[in-house]
Amino acid sequence: MIETIGTHLPVLPVLLPLLAGALLLLLERHGIGVQRALSTVAMVALLATSAALLRAADDGTVTMYLLGDWPARLGIALVADRTSALLVLTTTLLAIASLLYACAGWDRRALHFHALFQLQLAGLNGAFLTGDLFNLFVFFEVMLIASYGLLLSGGRGPRMRAGLHYVVFNITASTLFLIALGLLYGMLGSLNMAELAFRIGQADPANLPLIRAASGILLVVFCAKAALVPLYLWLPNAYSRAPAAVAALFAVMTKVGVYTVLRVYTLVFGSEAGELAGWAWTWLLPAGLLTLVLASLGALASKSLRMLVAFLVIASAATLFIAVSLDTVETVSAGLYYLVHSTFVAGALFLVADLVRRQRGVAGDNLDVAGPLRHSALLGALFAVAAVSTSGMPPLSGFLGKVLLLEAVPATNVAWVWSIVLVTSLLTVVALARTASQVFWRARPWPETASSPAPPQPAQVAAAILLLGYGIAMTLFGGPIMRYTGDAAAQLLAPADYINAAHGTAPQLREPSP
């Protein structure tokens, strides 16, 4: 039994949420209690699976899982290596906290919340684990369709408008994705990433311009998902209008874009790609730096707390692009550490922003007015920890991530990267300090006449503390985590193992094909 599960480990993070989502749809009329119980069971199982996947990947093996038992060059394969296992675990940990927050009462108001949540997890995990570009497109769609439902269910007015922008933008990006896939298949005759990496080195030189165009379109699509300049304009409005638990889960969605850039461009257009090796990298660093500046200015100028957090999400994605584009083992390793950290902290900030908004009465999360605030000690403490962590001040995980990144920057780029990262960190600190002084220090006493809001529920506070606790744990266990991200980065930048695993994994039941 255990052995069977072991061999099917890479497919379980996709199958478990899919199964749970389908069951949840069937069980919906039995009430919210049954749904919460089933969701909890599914999350526990997913956590165990993700942890097992991480342990299996830790020794450096690249596990190929052949769906339908076709050889990887013909069929669809799932691949679990160190990086994808790390991201699956990150998603699971984030999802546990955001589900806990939603279970405090919001999940009653949104139709099909639990089912959509599980389906979104299936899409996210699939996107991290797939080894095939078309399959990546399909998992993107699964993830996006569920996110449309989560974002819009129970919404009205302004959220519908933001949702329309979000949906149209993402569908356009998906269409571009398909165009790139059509071109790549026409030129190279496969969509398996390992096979593409192998074939691109031997491609006919006459086809290279078209392959280059296709890979450029692909990069645009991934950068749109990751909100790189100038493709980030859709994000602040959509994320700041999303319900808190959903926005917290969305914190990992921009990371999917960063991950796919890292995966596809280290593997397919990496060191094995011959003439096309790393041709677009030179654009990523300036774009990342520019996005970082614009996102920090946006954070400084935002009029509401949730808008501020949305801009901080863009800033963290931009920092990741800087780390990825520098393309050394040290920077990518620091980037992976920062990726995990920023996912947790951005999720925590969305939750804290929602808690603050509910305790401010009519002022909401509007930063232009000083409103009253209940339970300011608790919320202030939560906000302080999150703010220190996200802005990169010592002693929390944000500081470690940024220091690692700055230390690893190659000498040729030190001037630009150091100055921009440090100045934008200062801007972020100013934005957060201004917010804190407006919301917490200038809070007026609660008016006698108005009824005071209900105190935050224990589950909501626990969810925020859990996410902040992940960040603190990442600081305490910084050593082992950095060793792991270092190994993962080394594995990413040496794609030969991955390609060999794709070629060496034979079907188990099928006769050898021609």
């Binding site: 369709i145 408008r161 949906v167 398909l178 026409g186």
Partner: protein
């Protein structure tokens, strides 16, 4: 036939992008639809154009593209059509809802500086 197919793809794409950039949500949805048609044709053409050849292997015939049509792009197009179809439905629902909530079918309806 190549010229005809390429022209159709080009015209559909141009019309789709033009409609996508307009300010009414109905135009935008039509633009997305045209763009997805163009994409489907493009993927279809990735398997090379062949007339009257079967998409499955036949016994006694060499399994090369000279003797049969590439079946994979057809499978890809099928998936893409299904997804585009579902997405069009979702966008229409959202657009209708946005129109009734915000009182206008402008894509920025109800925002700053809008009626």
């Amino acid at each position: 036939m190549e010229f005809a197919l390429a022209s159709i793809i080009g015209v559909l794409t141009a019309a789709g992008i033009y409609l996508l950039l307009r300010s009414r949500s109905f135009d935008v949805i039509l633009g997305l639809t045209l763009l997805s048609y163009a994409t489907n044709l493009l993927i279809f053409s990735a398997g090379r154009l062949a007339i009257g050849k079967p998409p499955v292997l036949v016994d006694g015939m060499a399994p090369t593209l000279a003797n049969h049509t590439d079946p994979l792009p057809q499978a890809l197009v099928l998936t893409a059509i299904v997804i585009a179809f579902a997405m069009t439905a979702v966008t229409i629902v959202i657009a209708v809802r946005s129109r009734s909530d915000n009182g206008s079918d402008h894509v920025d309806a109800g925002g700053e500086g809008m009626p």
